[in-house]
């Protein structure tokens, strides 16, 4: 079985605990307006590299020293890693045999069966919430958030640790009522151990142009530190979960 991989980053400190090797899988069905990796969308892109489960596991295991020293491990991201869940499951399974901490960074916009199939192999799910409101989710991603929220409940019930990731785009994802509604949704989810806020930035914008895509998001300035802090406090108060701002 071969996996189609966009790229590998052996040194991440934001995609789970400790130092992570991140495998960016090729292909995504969402079309998020603020996506900074649109080059991962097309599942059959020629730039992707094919690896066998064995090869990619060998590459991951090479970094065991750093994992051990930092409490880190491997994170599958993308693209949407669950579009290739059989491959990902195979690699995660091999990593777990080697006592490597495993994580999945997923939108959860996938069928529940897929989530169920992969859950036994990951210790952590970095779960996106694109937007708590269905119509806004559709506006941002092109799809409703029904699957996303249902799957989140599913992961929660399976007692797999969850970190929520939420992108703050001023004017799009930062309405106070929406944020509070999201915090109330997250609050009863016992498996959620933290919420990460990702301030929107325009650094990925040039990639859209390189791919001949039209960047649809209107010109917005990245959120200010004080604005982010306000959101952080509000979410923390209502959800009762620690909220981090990632830079």
């Amino acid at each position: 079985m071969k996996g189609r991989i966009h790229s590998v980053d052996t040194f991440s400190t934001v995609d789970g605990p400790g130092i992570r090797t991140v495998i960016f899988m090729q292909g995504c069905t969402l079309r998020c307006q603020y996506c900074h990796n649109p080059d991962t969308w097309n599942p059959s892109a020629k730039t992707a590299k094919e690896y066998s489960a064995e090869e990619i596991t060998a590459l991951i295991v090479r970094n065991s020293n750093y994992f051990a020293a930092s409490g880190g491990g491997v994170t599958f991201s993308g693209g949407e890693p669950l579009l290739q869940y059989e491959f990902v499951r195979e690699v995660l399974s091999r990593c777990r045999q080697q006592q490597i901490h495993t994580a999945l960074d997923t939108s959860l916009y996938v069928p529940p069966e897929t989530v169920r199939a992969i859950l036994p192999y990951t210790r952590l799910v970095l779960a996106d919430i694109k937007h708590i409101k269905a119509e806004k989710s559709r506006q941002i991603t092109g799809q409703s958030n029904q699957l996303n929220l249902a799957n989140l409940q599913l992961v929660n019930r399976a007692k797999v640790e969850i970190w929520i990731r939420y992108v703050i785009v001023p004017g799009l994802t930062d309405a106070e009522t929406d944020l509070l509604q999201m915090a109330e949704f997250i609050s009863p989810l016992d498996s959620v151990s933290r919420i990460d806020l990702l301030p929107y930035h325009t650094l990925g914008r040039h990639k859209w142009e390189l791919l001949g895509l039209k960047y649809q998001l209107p010109e917005v300035d990245p959120p200010t530190p004080s604005h982010l802090e306000k959101i952080q406090n509000a979410l923390q108060n209502v959800s009762g979960k620690p909220v981090y701002i990632l830079h």
Binding site: V8, F11, T13, G18, A69
Partner: protein, 741 residues
Amino acid sequence: MQAWQDFIPGQWMLEVNVRDFIQKNYKPYDGDNGFLAGPTEKTNRLWSRCRELLALERSRAGVLAIDSDTPITITSHVPGYIDREQEIIVGLQTDAPLKRGLNVYGGLRTAVKACKAFGSEPDEQIVNFFKLHRRTHNDGVFTVYTPEMRTARRVGIITGLPDSYGRGRIIGDYRRVPLYGVDFLIQTKENDRQMLNPDMNSATIQIREELFDQIKALEDLKIMAKTYGLDISVPAVNAREAVQWLYLAYLAAIKQQNGAAMSLGRATTFLDIYMERDLQKGLITEAEAQELIDQLVIKLRLVRHLRTPEYNDIFAGDPSWVTEAIGGSGIDGRHQVTRTSFRMLHTLENLGTAPEPNMTVLWSSRLPRPFVEYCAHLSIKTCALQYENDDIMREYYGDDYGIACCVSGMRLGREMQFFGARCNLAKLLLFAINGGRDEITGEQVGVEMPVYEADCLDFEEILRRFKIQMNWLTKLYVNTMNVIHYMHDKYAYESVQMALHDSTVHRYMAFGIAGLSVVADSLSAIKYARVKPIKDQRGLITEFKIEGNFPKFGNDDNRVDELAVEIIKTFTRKLKKQPTYRDAEHTLSILTITSNVMYGKHTGSTPDGRKKGEPLAPGANPLHGREENGALAACNSVAKLPYHYARDGISYTFSAVPRTLGQTDAEMVKNLAAVLEGYFNQEAHHINVNVLNLETLQDAMEHPENYPDLTIRVSGYAVHFTKLNREQQEEIIMRTFYKRL
């Protein structure tokens, strides 16, 4: 004897054996940095005076003043002070701070040229005297160089050789002076002299003469100290004297020699024994202990030599490599971190960041966690530290070695090295393709063979040719070094540094290669892609067309990493075939200092796609922009390079934007410590750590006046970023800074 009161006795009392003294008396410190004290009033006042002088020096093109009338020796200058009231530790190279002395013995021509470059005229009488009556090292070398050696040097296949500047890389065991006093050391040398083989041959005669010079140097050292009102014929009796005696010994070395790298050694654990004794007795406070180290470091930051502008191309930023090795572990399993290790590092906070002394943390899996965290914290804050793997070096050098220059290990007082700069292996590969003709000048330099003929470079054939050229180069390289070091010993002998060595020393001869990653990638391209050579009108191959992909060094890919390993092994084996001057042991470094920029300028396009004139990668780094799998994959590739075959060190520079290390200070410290641990556990040798934003560097290029202290690690040493020239700055900015969008 008062000096040794309360010390645990041992062999060290009967003979010169500093290691034995340290092992018997030092106390490992497992705690954190909580005990450290800030700078005293005196230190603050003294350092602020120095900052004014340093600003003045910057405003005068980097040279504050030159004494061009007095050839500098140990005793040539009257005492100099910065601010006598505030100085706890005294002694300057000349009679005033930052005033550079004229060192003629290394080379008359060079000395004159250096003076003129900074608008000064050396005294005519001195110049004439040396011209008529005293040959200097540089002249000696050039009277003997063969035409082949001159050509190799001129086209830049072997470069940066210490034939026109002091070779440096010798570390006197300066600790001997405080521990024993100079008289004991003189007596020891006298005894050694009497024990020499009475059968006179050139080797014995040379040693007899050197011992004579060493004793004379020790006498001079005492005289110089006397001018400061200090009697160092006897051992130091307290911590202040220990620091002062140690510094005076070092000062004598930097008066007598302008070697490229003049390390301090490994002083902190030694000094800590004196500090602890005084602290126990209540003779000093922590603030006073720190003051001694702060004031020592102030002096080390003012070390200056007079250099030519050419020198700056290979060793940019006016470095002096006052390298101090800190930490490490003993062969008995105890780590060697003491409170004074912390105090030394803490000077970066008390005095602000600076490139000197070149603080080198000897990393060991046994280092106490709080110490590692403090180092990581300082790396993030200052970019001033480098780390070297004590766990692999200890096997070769025991537990009392120092680091000369950047990455060269040697037992203190027992081993020295003959420094040999480096050769340009990327250029040699082009010689292999062009039948030994230089791709820039077109002249025949290497082994003559036909220019490569086929349409596509064949791996086996190119490798065969490469090895033939390597046979030629290694032979020429060793022979050239033999000439240089014969002449250096003859005309610019480091008598005071060697006086602080055992009389019988082990010698290394340290060769170097530049362009490792370019050669590995080129061979990889030839092997795994199709590389078509393109000839110019001279019939030389000067461009290449590459079809297809190939693995590149720096991605933890064995297919190419093994090529890099093989190059190192082959080169070292070939070097070792060639006999050396004084039977020195051949070693090899993968280190470029900043010469990778200059080397690249003189190297044509290479089969890996690098264009003519573009910089080579520094040290053992992957070529910028070729790391596709992130920082740790690059670390893993470098970690595969075998230290056993590159005993003079494998330099790797890691640069990251702060946020990539973590979101909070605590997380950054933890993750950086984990990077070090993961890297060194794979038996990697060295890492420079830079943590800073690219924007900072870009802004510093435009507004250097706002960044007088901005320090960045380059290849095995740290420099003030604003003291680099524009090309060197641009090359640093080109280098891969690890960050994620």
